[in-house]
């Protein structure tokens, strides 16, 4: 299942880092950050609990880039 979320991130490199971090989060199959439109598209693995996976994604992203934001 794919879902798109609005994000807020300032630099292109941080956006790449967010993408990488989201991808490595458990329950996420693939993630693509679109820096220009400020969106992240997350493909969840089967049976993943979307809301808890998203909490984890946000936590991990905050770790690498403090002032990034993902709006659920």
């Amino acid at each position: 299942m794919k879902k798109t979320y609005k994000i807020e991130v300032d630099c292109a490199n941080c956006a790449n880092l967010m993408e990488e971090t989201a991808r490595k989060t458990k329950g996420v199959n693939n993630a693509v950050v679109n820096f220009m439109t400020q969106k992240i598209e997350i493909e969840f693995s089967e049976n993943a609990d979307v809301s808890s996976v998203m909490q984890e994604v946000i936590k991990n992203c905050k770790k690498i880039e403090e002032d990034c934001e993902i709006y659920i």
Binding site: D10, C11, A12, N13, N16, L17, V32, V33, N34, F35, M36, T37, Q38, K39, E41, K63, I64, E66, D67
Partner: protein
């Protein structure tokens, strides 16, 4: 400017003022150190914090860490100098941090601005739909309207959903979708596309697609996802950034340690630690790859955004890249180079007046909705008096027999003529031939053929001008018709009488023989060919899901001139990308060498980092103006 940017601006101004002020304050020693640390803290506290977090989270190679090490290093060197009796230079460290932040600030505002600029261009998302409920008009979210509902669109409003007009007349502006600035007129039973603007009248529209399926949603989805499909140059930069930074950092460490050690052990000279550490710090400042990381996606984004404003939807940065490299353009004939509508071209061997012959044929075909019948009615160009027509008998696929003004008229192909024992004169023109007989006497025939689009000739010329040498036409039509079009448009290579499957095979052959090839078709029955081509260009795709799905480039209207324009946009885009990559790499490389040799100081290093980034962003901005320029010329 958002809140964060405003805060940043204040910090930049405060630090600059303090730094300049301190220059005139006569203080020394520890007091001077503390005084200088104030602007440093103001401008750099977040960077230091980020660098610290990076180390803790084991993600050390980010630009914050580089800046932190470089500036803190420079400060320590300054303290070291102070202790040894010289005046330490704190200004440099603070200035480096200051310039770095100015660069970041500039980047962030530039990106926000261009993002806004481009999304304004694509501001086609409707906010509401007017729906009639219990006699009152209500504004609702377009999402809540379902198929079959009737919506009301007043003058000046955006059309929120695709539908069919059931009441009212108006002119419709589709420029946000197609780039075409001349409004279209629309009346009852006309289809109306979401995202266009109702200019004059009040319209009642029966909704045919829900919001998610409507044209406007499809377009927005396509454009917004476009820049997620990364091009080779973007992937190159991402990979490059991943190796470049660590390499420079390790080189900096080696530069700081190896030469002094070498000097002590082999040359018996003083180590000059501070000189070499300073050079290593310069290295670190240059090492940030942000000029590339930011300017290249920005260029592609501007290219995609600008193209979509001209009615050209490009599905990804990778498509821009391929499009800029195409050497061959293959056209489908009908609907792409020709209008796909039929027109009366000539009347031959007529024994009665030309106009009268067309009149009889038009009257005979008056009840039919076949394209041929429509073209006859159009050529007749008068209101058809249906009382003159009686006993219409259609012989499927062959023609029509009808009583007109009490004479028997037969109109149709050779077969129907022969069936009634009439000997038709065989025509050698290309196109569909309608023979006409009155009271079983042969009266001549009418040649109906497809019309070449007025822009087609210029399209071919433009394509040749921008270096596309191979232009090929494929068609399922008869050879004679194809040859006729090819000659008029000066296309030297064409293949006729192809079934859809043959088209696919031919396309494969072309791709195997020649370099990158694009295929342009109307997407109705050539979807497989569209997806097989290196670049599939679907024309007149407004409302056609299949074409939007299969193609890489979607032209919202059916103007073939958009094809050379799309190629031009992509070429421009790629040339800016290449300029930026080359410029940034060369400047950085030179500065690295100068830094290692001790010629470049930290000021030059800051230029190599921030200056190059600003120049690259400004260069990327040219993409915005390029598109504007073309759109203006067109309209």
């Amino acid at each position: 400017m958002n809140k964060k940017q405003k805060k940043m601006l204040i910090r930049i101004i405060a630090a600059s003022v303090l730094l300049t002020g301190l220059h005139f304050v006569p203080i020394n020693g520890a007091l001077r150190f503390i005084a200088y640390m104030i602007p440093y803290y103001i401008i750099g506290n977040d960077i230091i914090k980020k660098a610290y977090k990076g180390i803790i989270n084991l993600k050390p190679f980010d630009e914050s860490l580089l800046m932190a090490i470089a500036t803190l290093g420079a400060i320590i060197l300054a303290i070291y100098n102070e202790i040894h009796g010289q005046t330490g230079d704190y200004v440099e460290a603070i200035a480096v941090m200051l310039f770095y932040q100015i660069g970041e600030f500039f980047q962030s505002t530039a990106v926000t601005k261009s993002r806004k600029h481009i999304s304004e261009l694509m501001d086609i998302r409707p906010d509401y739909a007017n729906i009639e409920r219990n006699g009152a008009i209500e504004k609702v979210n377009p999402n809540e309207v379902s198929v079959g509902d009737t919506i009301i669109i007043t003058a000046g409003e955006k059309v929120p959903l695709d539908g069919i007009i059931i009441e009212g007349n108006s002119t419709i502006n589709t420029s946000a979708l197609t780039g075409e600035s001349i409004p279209k007129t629309a009346g009852i039973n006309d289809e109306i596309i979401s995202g266009s603007i109702n200019l004059t009248g009040l319209l009642k529209v029966r909704v045919t697609k829900n919001f998610g399926e409507s044209t406007v949603s499809k377009i927005l989805e396509l454009v917004e996802n476009a820049s997620s499909k990364k091009s080779k140059s973007e992937n190159f930069i991402t990979k490059f950034a991943r190796v470049y930074t660590p390499i420079v950092v390790f080189s900096a460490i080696i530069l700081a340690i190896l030469p002094p050690v070498f000097r002590i052990t082999f040359l018996n000279m003083p180590a000059l630690w501070s000189t070499w550490i300073y050079r290593a710090l310069t290295f670190l400042v240059i090492s940030c790859p942000c000029a590339l990381v930011i300017s290249i996606p920005l260029t592609f984004f501007a290219g995609i955004g600008g193209a979509s404003r001209a009615g050209i939807l490009i599905k990804g940065s990778n498509c821009i890249e391929t499009l800029s490299n195409i050497k061959t353009v293959v056209f489908d004939k009908t609907g792409t180079l020709t209008q796909g509508v039929f027109e009366v071209n000539a009347v031959h061997h007529n024994k009665i007046d030309e106009k009268q012959l067309i009149e009889y044929a038009a009257l005979a075909e008056s009840t039919s909705l076949h394209p041929i019948a429509l073209s006859l009615k159009k050529a007749y160009n008068k209101k058809i008096d249906l009382t003159r027509v009686k006993d219409v008998q259609e012989i499927s696929g062959n023609g029509i027999i009808a009583q007109i003004d009490d004479t028997e008229v037969i109109a149709g192909n050779e077969k129907i003529m022969k069936k009634f024992g009439i000997e038709p004169i065989i025509c050698h023109s290309s196109g569909t031939i309608i023979h006409v007989a009155i009271n079983k006497n042969y009266m001549g025939h009418i040649v109906i053929s497809d019309v070449i689009k007025p822009e087609a000739e210029n399209t071919i010329k433009e394509l040749k001008k921008i270096g596309i040498k191979n232009i090929i036409m494929l068609t399922g039509d008869l050879k004679k018709a194809a040859q006729n079009v090819a000659e008029k448009l000066r296309i030297t290579e064409f293949y006729a009488e192809l079934l859809p499957n043959d088209k696919l095979n031919k396309m494969e052959e072309i791709i195997n023989n020649k370099n990158t090839a694009a295929f342009a078709g109307d997407g109705i029955n050539d979807a497989p060919v569209l997806s097989r081509a290196d670049i599939g260009i679907a024309m007149g795709a407004m409302g056609s899901d299949a074409a939007i799905e299969a193609a890489d480039v979607v032209l919202m209207d059916d103007n073939p001139l958009k094809i050379p324009l799309a190629v031009k946009i992509s070429k421009k885009c790629l040339s800016i990308v290449k300029q930026n990559i080359l410029f940034a790499l060369i400047v950085k490389f030179i500065c690295l060498i100068l830094g290692a040799a001790g010629i470049a100081n930290m000021w030059l290093a800051v230029f190599a980092d921030v200056g190059v980034m600003i120049l690259c962003i400004l260069n990327a901005f040219r993409m915005l103006f390029f598109n504007d320029f073309h759109v203006k010329i067109k309209s």
